[in-house]
């Protein structure tokens, strides 16, 4: 018998526990973490406030400065961080299973580049079309994302057959480069003020200014969430192999389409809200898998919750580390994510 000690690590040992118990513990643990992040992050800032006072119902809201700062000034930003973090992390998990590639990210499929191009065009055109709670830039970014997703989807699907993940990956990467070139061109043609705004948008920003933009993308995220809820056990089998999944009763073509469309939807909503914030979609799923094991029924909800906490924490760092100057949150996630990504590559090799 070969030595077994090195391969039996904690999460694997814990997979011997019943799934029901693992799922419950995970939801409880990571849910608490996400909730704690959302409650504690608004307390930090230029003005010190107290959580007890903010939730003190005996003081009228109009007179409760702590509550106003907590709920009106800081909560939208924290909530945006939580939602975007959860969406990107969950989309990362789904795409990594769909592409059977642990290094895939929500931005691998060209959706974010399409979204960025849409936003760039809206910024440099100074467009003023608003749609409900969506202002022109997020709206254009959504349109860009949908166009990119539609192109990749059309290229990779054939009627009645499983998707070609190779085409999916190559089309996504190609589209990313193509749109990036167009983005550079749009920036080159723009004047200084517009160019600065486009660059700032590309860095990602969770300062959404209120609850309206969040409400604008929430319906899209809820639809994506509903799809994420039915996917996990099929994703487990899909990540083992398409043929294996088919012989275990998974409708492969349908699962792949649902996975692609829901991940694209979640990604486009997140990017429309806060710009393309990198690395969340890869760092979080990997960290979570190390802790919970790889079963998607546990790893997917855990990644969403951990992603929420992670991005709220990153944004907290972004707005405090050089205060009063604010570091773009995309730079913070990249600072953590870049080295982590390389570590993953080296570890795999």
């Amino acid at each position: 018998m070969r030595a077994t000690s090195s391969s039996v690590v904690a999460p694997v040992g814990s997979t011997l526990r019943p799934i029901r118990q693992r799922l419950l513990l995970t939801l409880l643990g990571y849910g608490t973490l996400a909730l704690a992040a959302c409650l504690l992050a608004p307390l930090v800032g230029s003005t010190r406030i107290s959580l007890a006072r903010a939730f003190d119902r005996s003081i009228p809201f109009a007179d409760n400065v702590d509550a106003q700062i907590f709920f009106l000034a800081r909560m939208p930003r924290v909530l945006a961080g939580a939602i975007v973090g959860a969406a990107l992390a969950a989309a990362g998990v789904v795409l990594q299973a769909l592409l059977r590639n642990p290094l895939a990210t929500p931005f691998t499929l060209g959706v974010s580049a399409g979204s960025a191009l849409g936003a760039m065009l809206a910024i440099s055109a100074g467009a003023a079309v608003a749609f409900g709670p969506l202002s022109p830039v997020p709206l254009a970014s959504l349109v860009g994302a949908f166009v990119a997703a539609a192109i990749v989807y059309a290229l990779a699907t054939r009627p009645g057959r499983p998707m070609s993940t190779a085409v999916l990956l190559l089309a996504g990467v190609t589209l990313n480069s193509f749109f990036s070139a167009l983005i550079l061109f749009v920036q080159y043609m723009a004047d200084f003020a517009e160019a600065y705004r486009t660059v700032r948008w590309l860095m990602g920003d969770l300062d959404v200014g209120g609850f309206a933009p969040i409400a604008g993308v929430l319906p899209l995220l809820l639809v994506a969430c509903a799809a994420f809820a039915v996917l996990p056990s099929s994703l487990n089998l899909l990540s083992v192999g398409a043929d294996v999944a088919a012989t275990r009763g998974v409708d492969v073509a349908r699962t792949q389409r649902l996975a692609f469309l829901s991940a694209a939807l979640a990604t486009s909503a997140a990017v429309a809200l806060a710009g393309p914030i990198g690395f969340v979609g890869i760092v979080v799923p990997h960290l979570v898998r190390l802790m919970t094991g790889v079963d998607h029924r546990v790893a997917l909800p855990a990644s969403a919750l951990f992603g929420a906490a992670f991005l709220v924490a990153c944004d907290l760092v972004a707005r405090t580390v050089l205060a009063p100057v604010e570091v773009p949150v995309g730079v913070v996630t990249a600072m953590i994510g870049g080295p982590f990504f390389l570590w993953l590559l080296v570890r795999k090799a």
Partner: protein, 262 residues
Amino acid sequence: MALQLQQISFEYGPTNGFAVRDVSVVIERGSLTGLLGPNGCGKTTVLKLMAGVLRPERGTIAFDGRALADIPRRELARHIASVPQETHPAFDYSVLEMVLMGRHPHLGTFALEGPGDLAIAYDALAGTGTAHLAGRTYMSLSGGEKQRVVIASALAQQPDVLLLDEPTASLDLAYQLEVAALLARLNRERGVTIVVATHDLNLAASICRTLVLVRGGRVLAQGATDAVLTGDTIRQLYDVDADVRFHDRSGHLTVVPIGRIR
């Protein structure tokens, strides 16, 4: 009969020609059938057609008299399970997780496996001699262990029919014999109907009671092993001159290849 293929034809693309042409095969319930033929002859395609992974362009496949195309995928997976040549998961699942995935067709979308499913999984692990590996990760296993775990996963589906694609191809002699003995035992003790595609003629001779010989996407011969496995058919199948003799100590036919026929 468990599976009946009638005049099946299949092509992978309009320009690739037929991978399988006018194939008619009958797999009896409780049988252990070997699927023999040279590389690229269509063995794997036939297995995928039997599993319902591929749909034939022409002809019909029936399971227990019902057209395969009319059986929902999940229901079909409760009757027919497959073991591919090699299985490479994208993530490092534990052995128990791999085997529990075999319960998928028996569970609803949101249902989690319960104690009953766990018992079936451990039974499948025990049946393949891999119970001691339950807590290991799949990727840390040797080739032979992986193959047996995947077979356990297929057994957890509690199928009537088990299809295996060259299950011994990457295994050393000891593991080859072990997997062969496992298949014979599953067939004998659990009554699982087994179809195994293989290049190992001696393995086929030792465990298979019936053989189907395939060449160029067509069925060359099928029938009882003793009747079908002859020097003549091997020459037609592989262009190889071989001695086929009954071997007293092993109690089955053995094939000794002599040389290639130009």
